[in-house]
Amino acid sequence: MVMEGWAWRGLSSRKLFYYYANKGVAMNCSVRRAIVVAAPFPLAWAGVVGVFTALGDRLPDRLATHFGTSGQADGFTGPGAFLSVVAALFLIPGAVAAGLAAGSRTPLGERRAMVAVGYGTPAQLGCVLALLLLANAEAGTAGPEGVEFPLWRLAASCAVAVAVGWLGWLLAGLDTARPAGSADPESGPRLPLAQGELASWTRAVGSPVLLGTGGVTAVLGGALAFAAGPAAGLPLAAIGSAVALFSGCRVTVDRRGLTVTARFAPRPRLRVPLERIEGALSREVRAAELGGWGYRSAAGRSGLVLRSGEALSLRLATGREFVVTVDDAATAAALLNTLAERGRTTARGGRD
């Protein structure tokens, strides 16, 4: 693979990453991210401009730029306007992408899909525009009205987009710095238990935001049902009630692992079995970090965010992180580490 020798993975990747992170060269890191995320936009722009320059005199004075379903040209643009539109199409989104990447503290490895789309889109656009210029040049004496752009060219550009998007996916995967605060599994907090001692930790957690949103939605739905008939209002009322119902949860840590149930009903419930948990710790989570309140899933992490603040963070055997916001998470994490360790010891003992 081309990427194997690339700077990020070079040396012993993660150690180097930690070294720089600890040295406070975060600036360097965000500049690198911005370059990786934004690179395809100026590259695609340069490609289109390159094709334009190379074709030079062969291009007609009016470029065919829009085509009917039959592949026949039906819209035309002058070369100057064409070049300005192309510059705007690539450089503005490129600048936005660079700005977002520089400002974000999330490793690209947790935003792989987004980076892949950011690679595929300019690749496809650049490909279509380059093919368009070629088609214009090929028409030659037939003039812009004779330019044809069959659908297979669009299909070809999609294939290029997928390939380049995949490249973006791979590149993003190289940036895998873990969020600050995650320690290695052996050093997590412990809660000493006597041999055979049973333990269970449980705590209720409520979300004022979800309760408020759900309640207001339910009331609005009810009002709408009166004003405009049940068909209009009842679905909204039902959704609002459901959101309000699940705004409260009970988090339990015991011999089975982590269980989260709705406060007022045993089902539905969410369970992470003990065998799938590598380690646990307590950390601060901001709702914005996972994209809002409720059950959130982003690349590399998922969880239940009912409010910002203290949260129980699990590192799963799959390498993903699972968080659930709850008070007194330190006790829960310590118990979970102890139980997981006990589970691993018994499993080993059983096999011997």
Partner: protein, 119 residues
């Protein structure tokens, strides 16, 4: 809150569950009006019989620390105070210690009476 139960200990499991709640009330990690987990859920979680949990909850109700209501489960009494929970914790400790010394109930009571009479 954290429930801890050691089947190897001479103290009955129900009393150990009650002691866990008392401890949580005493250190303030559980407050008035807070709901304890349903007996069935806690029994499943710990891997003990549901009657064991109910015995523990009934003990707490007898001490006035929680209220048991059909359909509402176990709720910490509104007039509960951490100091009272600590006192009851002390009483529990006294009983356990006295039993381990082989004292009869009557002997324990007379010890307490003497202490109360001496002011």
């Amino acid at each position: 809150m954290l429930f801890r139960v050691d089947p190897g200990s001479p103290v009955p499991l129900g009393d150990q569950i009650a002691a866990s709640v008392r401890g949580a009330l005493a250190d303030g990690s559980v407050g008035p009006g807070e709901r304890l987990p349903a007996a069935r859920a806690l029994a499943d979680s710990l891997g003990v019989n549901v009657h064991t949990v109910l015995r523990g909850y009934q003990r707490l109700r007898d001490e006035g620390l929680i209220e048991l209501r059909r359909g509402r489960g176990a709720v910490v009494s509104a007039d509960h105070s951490p100091a009272r929970a600590r006192l009851l914790d002390g009483v529990q400790g006294l009983v356990v210690e006295a039993r381990s010394l082989g004292l009869s109930d009557e002997e324990v009571l007379s010890l307490v009476r003497v202490r109360l009479a001496s002011g």
